[in-house]
Amino acid sequence: MKPLLPSLALAFAMAATAPALAQQSGGTLNMVVQPEPPGLVVGIWQNAPTQMVAGDIFESLLRYDTDLQPMPSLAHDWSISEDGLTYTFHLHEGVKWHDGEDFTAHDVVYSVDVFLRETHPRLRASLVHVDSIEAPDDHTVVFTLNQPFGPFIGVFEVGTMPILPRHIYEGTDYANNPMNATPIGTGPFRFNAWRQGSYIHLVRNEDYYLEGRPFVDEVYYHVIPDAASRAVAFETGVVDVLPGGSVEYFDIERIMALPNTCITDAGWEYFGPLSWLWLNNHEGPMADVNARRAVMHALDREFMRDALWAGRGEVATSPLSSSTRFFDDDLPSIAYDPDLAREYLEASDYDGQTLNLLPLPYGETWQRAAEVTRQNLMDVGFNVNLVATDVAGWNQRVSDWDFDLAFTFLYQYGDPALGVARTYVESNIAQGSPWNNVAGYRNPELDAMWEASAVSPSDAERQEIYSELQRRLIEDVPNAWLHELGFPTIYRCNIHDLVTTGIGLNDGTRDAWIEQ
């Protein structure tokens, strides 16, 4: 059993002691979406804002609880064969698309085998393990794998494998399908209107297959481009839910002092967002392992967490997030120790070159983090230059390996084979993407272990390999791990069951209800 996040344990404890309330129907849910999504058809668009809004419109076969155990969604039952090669899903009957057509297993086969295979790079990576996807009848789907792939049970989430209507997309140019403007899903809410630059309006799906759900009548996703304005919107009662990242961390304490205001870090367990500094292993000072170790120990990550991230989240102790499966909590320390950092720096080849540090262009908190990092590094004897970029510039430089250190954070998708291996294996070194093994870390021995662990059938065996991997990575410091980011959702306390799964708000608001 892997350890729970302390905050999670607390949440469970509170859930257990909270008096049971009867769910009430009605009301309007006003949320913030940031930035404005480019489109709502998840599958064509995969960025975070799309995923959040789309979670109300589209569904997938499974959801995952905060322990990452699968839960029913479009599939009410599923089984995995003994040899780990056949995954069988039994779908709900009587599910209808928003335009009244019946939802069937053929929609699933079409979505995964045709549509997403073409449009979804992250799912594509998992589909290489899949031999065939078939629908023996209208309500059964069978995935056959070419070899056991333990993490596979974790990919049936709505952002990874949304189910799209075959009758609308088959044979069309997906990206330019006119129906993209009025998306049709099976989810608890229907698309109603999108006023560019202002809001997206969804209304209750009266024909939803779960009796009584959803509870609220309508959902507004407000587009408010400025973080301070989003805070004001919450204060003045225009919005009632601030999803993670909506307001600056500096503002959280003040907002939490408002009456009827609750906060939760839950709903990110599946993603396990972990931040780190890419260290350029290809060339330059960071190619030296002692210089990398010096960086690792020079960073006062406690201070950053407390001063910048409002005390939310945890200081990383491993390349794995603690909510990701196979996290090991007994690893060598990578804690702040400036004297040790100076020793490592002394032992390295570093001779005063100016290091280029790329901040993450996602707002003020990240900018401050880069400034503190620069100061930390200069305090132990590095020379550091902050490079100012915007999102496009950051992408370009990171993709082209044009940096010495660069901030980033990535999701881990519950399983190291899905979200962690990609950062460290040699086969994933290629210019042109900021999300692969950008640092250029090469270790054939570890590569073999990554490969073995992904297809290893037993969890015990996987744990053993992953523990060893974590230890070896900490020794080599290919990147300097920073924080398990907390993306707290802030909401009015009379909104209940807003975050119920490990996917959080991206799983939609079908269970949320408002106490009048």
């Binding site: 973080a227 301070a228 805070a231 600056e248 500096f250 503002d251 304490e253 003040r254 201070f303 001063a307 910048l308 901040p359 262009p361 707002g363 003020e364 900018q367 401050r368 880069a370 400034e371 503190v372 620069r374 100061q375 200069m378 230059n385 902050l386 490079v387 100012a388 970029t389 915007d390 496009a392 510039g393």
Partner: protein, 284 residues
């Protein structure tokens, strides 16, 4: 009693109370900018206290600390240098572009004038703030590019002003005389025309420094500042997100900008009074 024109101008300038106040403020700012970093050699980026320390609570940190515990006073002192530098250098560069363009257009007239003025007009047609943002998105903000960008969006008025002055000077007798005496056009422009066009250029330049400081702070506010130097614009931009919890962090550098820009404007008005030939004539 005969006085040099400079002394006359100074007397007129000194009669403008606002201008004298402005000059006094600016002198303080310049002094801080020149001496400050020597007196406070500590890096303004160093975390020295607990975050969000309000002003006037700790004698060692009289103006308090910012979101990560950096000394606001040190930032203010180091920022003075950067803000002034951006203001002055970008104005200088704008003059280096604008003066030749305007002088050539005004002096030669004809197709040269036409071409150069179309060019100027072209730059005036593009919304300048938008152009600045695009330029910085391309070049990525560093002090060098920020200064150049501000210069690029602010030279056209210089060109227009200089052209106008040169046009009216062009017909004066002493220019005609210089032409007849065989001086080259370049010599005439540099030795005869420009010195006489100088007063309005100086007035405009003083106002441009002020505008450049404002522009730099606006760009910083949008996150387009140089992250390696502490400027007042940066301080406000960084404090903007904590406005509600720590209003003084944007208030203090805001006042610094306000005072400096105010001083420059007052000086500009004083210079205008002192150097504007029409006013001069009226008083004589």
């Amino acid at each position: 009693m005969s006085r040099s024109p400079l002394a006359l101008a100074w007397r007129r300038f000194a009669q403008n109370r606002g201008a004298v106040v402005g000059l006094a403020i600016l002198l303080v700012v310049v002094l801080v900018a020149v001496l400050g970093p020597t007196l406070m050699p500590q890096s303004p980026w160093r975390m020295v206290g607990r975050p969000f320390l309000p002003p006037l609570t700790d004698a060692a940190l009289p103006l308090g600390t910012d979101a990560v515990g950096r000394d606001v006073l040190t930032g203010l002192v180091h920022g003075a240098r950067v803000s002034l530098l951006v203001g002055l250098v970008s104005t200088l560069v704008a003059l280096l572009i604008g003066v030749p363009v305007g002088a050539l257009a005004g002096y030669f007239g004809g197709w040269v004038d036409d071409a150069l003025m179309r060019f100027t007009e072209f730059f005036q047609t593009i919304p300048s703030f938008a152009l600045a943002i695009v330029l910085l998105a391309i070049f990525q903000p560093s002090l060098f590019w920020i200064i150049l960008t501000i210069a690029i969006v602010s030279w056209p008025p210089v060109a227009r002003l200089v052209r106008g002055e040169v046009l009216s000077l062009r017909t004066r007798e002493y220019i005609e005389a210089a032409i007849l005496s065989g001086q080259t056009s370049l010599q005439i422009i540099i030795r005869q025309v420009l010195p006489n066009a100088l007063p309005p250029i100086i007035v405009l330049a003083s106002l441009m420094v002020a505008t450049a400081i404002l522009l730099e702070s606006s760009l910083s506010f949008l996150g387009l500042g140089d992250p390696n130097v502490m400027s007042w614009g940066y301080m406000i931009g960084a404090a903007r997100t904590v406005l509600r919890t720590a209003w003084w962090l944007s208030f203090i550098p805001g006042i610094a900008i306000l005072l400096t820009v105010l001083a420059l404007n007052l000086i500009g008005e004083g210079l205008n009074d002192a150097l504007n030939p029409r006013l001069q004539r009226r008083e004589e």
